[in-house]
């Protein structure tokens, strides 16, 4: 058997989805962003909505997400993605609109836009990457940083008396009548990746029925910011992040 015998469509087991561009991602090796991007892109491909989707990129590690998703993209100011998404969906109601934001963007500077877009029940999908740290700016404390967790601006650990408590924004958003689907997922094992993809698919499908905000939190690692190897960071995520941010559906509207 030679090479040409193997490279045939029927033998294809894996390929890059055409909803991702060929640009090389800038994410650190081991980071969960790349997997999360791929899942969103695969869902868009499988639903056949590439030409009817507009994405909103944040400020943070995924600021350049617009270079990777092969759909029309808008780059928002820090925290403002839900406001952009609101207007896009209202003015183009037959389009699928998603925002992709990190924890600093969505749960600190953009808390107001996040809560009000969810409370209005905007018919959009929000993807929320929670790695408990500001990755892009070099590992500072985030609203989601765990108690006692060390970051560059909490070098002796997050001391909640003076630095405040880690914010469970996802549970908070589940309380709002405008959210129809709120779930927390992870992407550090193959089984969790498959589960997360099903959740993202559901979050996009809901837009067909005008049900309100579908919100998918993905608890992710930041091996660079946490100063660990990728493998160690995944173990740390499981041992420390998941007890405080447990996985699973938080709200599923009928």
């Amino acid at each position: 058997m030679n090479r040409e015998d193997i490279i045939k469509p029927e033998n294809l087991v894996y390929r890059r989805t055409p909803v991702l561009t060929e640009n090389i991602m800038h994410y650190c090796p081991g980071c969960g962003h790349g997997t999360a991007h791929r899942l969103v892109a695969e869902v868009i491909e499988e639903m056949g909505i590439q030409e009817k989707t507009i994405g909103i990129a944040p400020v943070g590690c995924s600021v350049l997400a617009y270079n990777y998703f092969e759909v029309d993209m808008q780059e928002a100011a820090h925290g403002r993605a839900p406001a952009l998404a609101t207007a896009v969906k209202r003015l183009k109601p037959d389009f699928f609109v998603f925002s992709y934001q990190g924890d600093g963007d969505l749960a600190a500077i953009g808390t107001g836009e996040t809560i009000h877009a969810c409370n209005r029940g905007e018919n959009i999908t929000m993807i929320f990457i929670n790695n408990g740290i500001y990755g892009m700016t070099g590992g500072q404390m985030a609203p989601t940083t765990l108690e006692d967790m060390k970051t560059s601006t909490s070098p002796y650990g997050r001391e909640v008396q003076s630095m405040g408590n880690p914010l469970k924004i996802t549970e908070l958003l589940a309380q709002l009548p405008g959210t129809c689907y709120v779930t927390r997922q992870a992407v550090y094992t193959p089984a969790l990746v498959r589960k997360c993809k099903r959740a993202i698919r559901q979050a996009f499908e809901n837009q067909k029925e005008n049900k309100g905000v579908s919100f998918v939190e993905i608890v992710s690692n930041c091996n660079s910011g946490w100063k660990m190897t990728p493998t160690a960071s995944n173990q740390w995520l499981e041992d420390n992040m998941l007890p405080f941010y447990p996985l699973g559906d938080i709200k599923v509207s009928k």
Partner: protein, 360 residues
């Protein structure tokens, strides 16, 4: 014959937006311009033209909703008053950086800080010199009547789309609240999605099968490319300065002295001209209609013909700096203003001309 209506300046903005075919209005209440959102909500434009009107949770959200709509090639707008406009400066910088067209209306009140809800013109610097971060400009129109509040909605959108840049209508609490008769247009249809897709290849209208996706962003991390972005934007601004200056000359033919004033101050100066001419003072008015680009050329030419100019503003003296730059110290130029929400009378404006320019 067009329909005539008695309207407030704020209502004229709202009515013009609906009838011109604006796609989306996003705003937050603030005095003295809340009638704009109220009028839009009462008129239910969604039923008439399909226009979307949404009360946002803040001015920050409003301007970013405008960004999202503008990036889709839609005609998107917001309105506010001074403190709210301050909150929008970040968004305006992003919109200018992403080269998107939109309309922002500022019905100016007195500051600084929470200031007063009474009229002012103290946001001239913020509007014409930047306001947000980075090298950008706002195409700025200054209405002096309710009719101009109405007419400038269309003009602002035309200029904004021509230059792919945010446009500002810089009004004030007087023009926003005063009632005058206005000629209004019939309803124009909004642009179709097909027209937008065909006309604005820069807009996010859904990826085309055979072309790359569209990205709307103001980010370019490679400095050599970011410099090129700035050079392109500045070239656009030079073209705008060459082509889009608008102004009105009133009683300038035989004038020995000039008022320079915009908006409601220009209206007060018209009365002051009448009072002055009754006393034999040959005074006229240059009324800038575009504050950026500023009518520097005509002011420089007029400086060769008159003995002095008085810049009249409801501020501590902001536009006067542009008048000084334009006239290059060829003649005497002074400022007269009231601020904090106080509106000067024609008598005190004329007295200022007599003491600061003629007798000074």
């Amino acid at each position: 014959m067009k329909e005539l209506r008695l309207m407030k300046g704020n209502e004229a903005i709202a009515e013009a937006a609906i009838r011109y075919g604006v796609d989306g209005y996003f705003g937050y209440p603030i005095t003295p311009q809340s009638e704009i959102l109220e009028h839009l909500m009462a008129e239910e434009p969604y039923k008439k033209t399909g226009m979307v009107v949404l009360q946002a949770e803040s001015e920050v959200a409003s301007i970013n909703m405008v960004y999202g709509g503008a990036a889709c090639g839609k005609r998107a707008m917001t309105t506010s008053s001074s403190p709210g406009i301050s909150l929008m400066q970040e968004g305006l910088s992003y919109i200018a950086g992403a080269e998107l067209p939109c309309l922002v209306v500022n019905v100016v009140r007195g500051g600084p800080g929470l200031g007063t809800i009474q009229p002012s013109q103290a946001d001239y610097f913020q509007t014409t010199k930047g306001g947000g971060h980075g090298d950008y400009r706002l195409i700025t129109l200054a209405p002096a009547s309710v009719q101009e509040m109405y007419d400038f909605v269309a003009l602002a959108f035309e200029l904004a789309f021509k230059y792919r840049n945010p446009a500002m209508i810089l009004s004030d609490g007087v023009i926003g609240q005063v009632m005058e008769k206005v000629q209004i247009d019939d309803y124009k249809p909004r642009w179709t999605d097909e027209y937008i897709k065909k006309s604005f290849p820069w807009a996010t209208t859904g990826k085309n099968p055979n072309t790359p996706h569209v990205i709307v962003t103001s980010l370019e991390l490679d400095s050599s490319k970011q410099e090129q972005v700035n050079i392109r934007i500045q070239k656009k601004y030079r073209e705008c300065e060459a082509k889009e200056v608008r102004y009105e000359l009133i009683n300038c033919e035989d004038a020995e002295y000039l008022f320079v004033a915009y908006g409601s101050s220009a209206r007060i100066c018209q009365k002051a001209i009448q009072l002055g001419r009754e006393k034999g003072i040959k005074v006229g008015l240059v009324r800038p209609i575009t504050l950026w680009p500023f009518p520097s050329k005509i002011l420089n030419e007029m400086a060769d013909k008159v003995k002095g100019m008085l810049s009249v503003e409801m501020s501590a003296g902001q536009m006067v700096e542009d008048v000084l730059l334009a006239t290059k110290h060829k003649i005497k130029v002074e400022h007269y203003g009231r601020f904090g929400g106080i509106i000067p009378t024609p008598q005190e404006v004329l007295h200022a001309l007599e003491t600061k320019i003629i007798g000074g």
